[in-house]
Symmetry: C3
Subunit: 347 residues, 3 copies
Amino acid sequence: MIMPKSLGEIADWIKGELRGDPSIQIYGIAGIEDAQAGDLTFVAHPKYAGFLKTTSASAVIVGTKADREGINIPVIVHPHPYYAFAKAMELFGAVKIKYPERVHSTAVLAEGVKLEGGVHVGANVVLEKGVWIKPDTVILASSFVGADTIIGENTLIHPNVTIRENVEIGKNVIVHSGTVIGSDGFGYVKDGGSHHKIPQIGKVKIEDNVEIGANVTIDRATLGVTRIGKGTKIDNLVQIGHNVEIGENCIIIAQVGISGSTKIGNDTIIAGQAGLAGHIKIGNRVVIGAQSGVTKSVPDDTTVFGYPAREIHKMKRIEAHLSHLDRYIKRLRELEEEVKRNKDSTH
Amino acid sequence: MIMPKSLGEIADWIKGELRGDPSIQIYGIAGIEDAQAGDLTFVAHPKYAGFLKTTSASAVIVGTKADREGINIPVIVHPHPYYAFAKAMELFGAVKIKYPERVHSTAVLAEGVKLEGGVHVGANVVLEKGVWIKPDTVILASSFVGADTIIGENTLIHPNVTIRENVEIGKNVIVHSGTVIGSDGFGYVKDGGSHHKIPQIGKVKIEDNVEIGANVTIDRATLGVTRIGKGTKIDNLVQIGHNVEIGENCIIIAQVGISGSTKIGNDTIIAGQAGLAGHIKIGNRVVIGAQSGVTKSVPDDTTVFGYPAREIHKMKRIEAHLSHLDRYIKRLRELEEEVKRNKDSTH
Amino acid sequence: MIMPKSLGEIADWIKGELRGDPSIQIYGIAGIEDAQAGDLTFVAHPKYAGFLKTTSASAVIVGTKADREGINIPVIVHPHPYYAFAKAMELFGAVKIKYPERVHSTAVLAEGVKLEGGVHVGANVVLEKGVWIKPDTVILASSFVGADTIIGENTLIHPNVTIRENVEIGKNVIVHSGTVIGSDGFGYVKDGGSHHKIPQIGKVKIEDNVEIGANVTIDRATLGVTRIGKGTKIDNLVQIGHNVEIGENCIIIAQVGISGSTKIGNDTIIAGQAGLAGHIKIGNRVVIGAQSGVTKSVPDDTTVFGYPAREIHKMKRIEAHLSHLDRYIKRLRELEEEVKRNKDSTH
C-alpha cells in the first residue's frame, strides 16, 4: 500500500548528507519514541539523543552538531532536522491543502460578521452575529460558529464542528470534526428534590497552536474561563469540564475526562481513558498513565497511574504483589501448618 | 476576568436582607457542595443545611425560616432562596437568550411538519415528515429531526444535534450539540460465522426537564422504549444503550456507559467514566463512584465503587490493604524466619 | 408499550411448524445469548445449540435437522431459521425504509462527483470533488463526504456523519450519526519544547457489511491504511487510532479505545470501555473484558480482563484473593500471636 522510498532518494530530496546505505527502503515516518523498523525519524533536541541508541527506526535525521557516537543506524545530517523531516513527508505525499479565499454561496452569515483577508468559509457553514474570523482561517462545511466568537489567523476548522458563542480561539489552531467547544458546564443546585440549572455564562479560550481531535467536548466556564494553553494537543473523544485550565504543550490522549475546575500545568501528558477529579491541581511535566483515576493533586515531575492513581513505583509494587498473591497465601498456609506441627511436637 | 460584585450590591439586587459585611467581594456562584472561597451559594431545603457549617463559600442565601445557628459566613435572607440565587446570576451576566418565532429561510421542512406558536427553527435545520414541534421550542442551526418525532414545549435543541425518527421529547428539555438520540441499538445474531443485524424498531422517550450534554449517544430500543426520566441530567459523551430506563432526577456524569436493558431508579448518581453491565437493576438513591465497573444489580440507598464495583466500606478496606501489602508481606517473611529460628532453637 | 404476538400467530406468519402451545405470548426478539423470558430467539448453527438448554427465551426457531432433545421450550421448525427470525421481526413492526433515487435540491455537489443508479442524497449533504457513490447507497441529511472518497453500494450513511477525503467504504455498510471517519491520527514530534504535527496522509478503509455506531472516531493512517475488516460491528463512542487494523466479524462495544498501529484478528470481542495500548497484536477469537487495560499482545483464543489485562483464570484468582484479604490478614495476625505465645511458653 505504501510506496517506500530509498534513503538515497530521501537524502537528495531534503538536501542532507547521508551516512549509510542509500538503498535502504523507508516505509514511514515517526517521532523518535514511536518509530519502528522501516521508519525514518529525527532528533533535533539533545534531550532525545539518548533514544537513538535504542530506537527501532531504520534511519534518523540529526543536526550538524549532533553527537553521533553510539548510533548504529544510518544518519542524514541536516542543519534543521525538523524542517528536513517535514520536507521528507512530502515525498510520501504530504501536501498542505490550499483553500481559496471564498465564502460558499450556501453559507449563512448573520449581520456584523467580520471576515479578514484569505478567509475560506465552506458550504452550509453558519456564522452568527459578531463573529470575527482573522486572516487565512478556514471554516469547513456545515460548521457552526456562535455569536461574538473570535477565531485567530491561519486556523483550520474541519466540517461539522460546533463552536458556541463567546469563545476565543487563537492562531494556527486545528479543530477536528464533530467537536463541540463551549457547551454548557454541568452545574446544578438541588432544591426540593430536583436539580436546577446554574447558568453557564463563562467563556472558552483556546490558545495558539492547539490541536483538538474529533468528537471532543470542551465546556464553557460557569463564570470565568475554560482555558487550553498554547501548543497543547488533544486527541479524540476527550471531555474537558467547565473552568478547567490546561497549561502549555500538554498531550491529552483519547477518551480522557477532566472534571470541572481542575488545573493542569505545562508539558504534562495524560494517557488514554484516564479520569481526573474536579478541583485538583496537576503540576508541570506530570505523566498520568492510561485509565488512571486521579483523585488528588499531583506535584511537578511525577508519574502516577492506577485507580486511585498512586506514584508509579508504589503502584508497580502493588501490581507485583497482586501477581504473587497466590504464592503469599500459600506461604501463609504452610506457615500455619508448620506452627501447628511445631506446637504439637513440643507438647 | 470575572468582575466581582459586593455582597451589598447583590443583596440590593435580589431584595434580600443581608446579615454580614456588605463590602465582601463575590467572584462566583455555586451549589452548596461545590462552593469555594469567593462563591455565593444558597440553601433552600433543610437537608442541605448541614453543609453550611463546613462550606468554603463566602456567603449564603437562606430562607426566612432557616435555622442560622452555627453559620459563620454572611447570610442573605430571602423568602425564595433559589429564585434569589438565579436572580443573583443575572448580576454576573446571565441572560436567557430570547429566540424570535421564525423559520430560517434555509431550513428544510418536509410535508406535514407541525410547528406551534413561538417556535424558532434555525439555519439549515432539517425536519422530516410528521415532526411536531410544540410552543416556544427552539431548534438551532443544522440540527436534524427525523420523521414523526415530537418535541415538547419550551425545549432547546442546540446546533448540530441529531434526533432520529419516532423519538418523543418532553418540555423544558435541553439537548447540547453533537448529541445523537435514537441511533440503532447494538444488536446482532450470529449465524454461519457472521453477525446479522436485529432491526431496532423501538423508540426513545426523553421526559420533561431533562438536560443532555454534548456528544451523548442514546440508542433506540430494539422493541419498546429507551427512557430518560423527568429531571435527569446527563453530562457529555455518555453512552446509553437500547432499552435502558433511567428514573427521575438522576445525575449521570461524563463518559459513563450504560449497557442495554439496564434499569436505574430515581435520584441515583453515576460518576464519570463508570460502566454498567446490561440487564441489571440499579435502585433509588444509589451512588456509583467514578470509573466503577458495575456487574450486578445494586439495591436502594447503596454506595458502590471499584472494579468490579463493591459496597463502599468493603472497597475501602481492600484499598487500604493494598496500600499496606508491602508491610503485610514483610510481616509474613519475618514470621517465617521467626518460626524457623524457634524450631531450630528447640531442636 | 409493546404489542405481544402469540406463538401461533408468529408460526403462521413465518410459515414454520410449531411444536408447543400456540397461545404463548411473545414480547420481543433477541439473540440466543441475550434472550429473556417473553423473547423469541433462534438457532441456526449447531455451535449455539448448547445454549438451548439454559436459555430464558420463551420459544426458539430451529432448523429442520436440529437435534431437539433436551429443549424444554416451544420450538418453531423452519428450513432457514435466520430468515424466519428476520421475517418474524416484521410482525413487530420492522420495515426497511425505502429511500427514493434523488439528490435533494439543497445538497452541495462539487464538480466530478459520480453518483450511480438508485443513490439518495439528503438535504444539506456536501459531497466534495471526486466523490464516487455506488448504486443504491443513501447519504442522509447534513452529512459530509470529502474529496475522492468512494462509498460502495447499498450503504447507509445516517445524518450528520463526517467522512473525510480519501476514505474507502465498502458495500452494505451502515454508519450512524455524529461519527467521524478519517480524522487526522494523533502524531507529533517534540522539538525545542513544542509538539510539531506529523502530517497524516494515509487512508481509512471500511470493508463490506461493517456497521459503525454513533459518535465514533476512526483516524486515518499516518501513512498506509486504518482498516476495519468485513462484517465487524462497532458500537457508539469508540475510538480507533491511526493505522489500527481490525479483522473480520469482530464486535467492539461502546467507548472502547484502540491506540495507534494495534492489529486485531478475526472474530474477536472487545467489551465496553476497554482500552488497548498501541503497537500490540490481538489474535483471533480473543475476548477482552469490559474496562480492561490491555498493555501487551494477546494470543488467539484467549480471554483476558482487568487492568493490566491478565488471562481470565489468573485474574479471577486475584479478584477472589482481594475479596478475602481481610481474612488472610486476620490469619497472619493470629499466627503472629500464636508464634509469640509458643515462644513464650517454651522459654
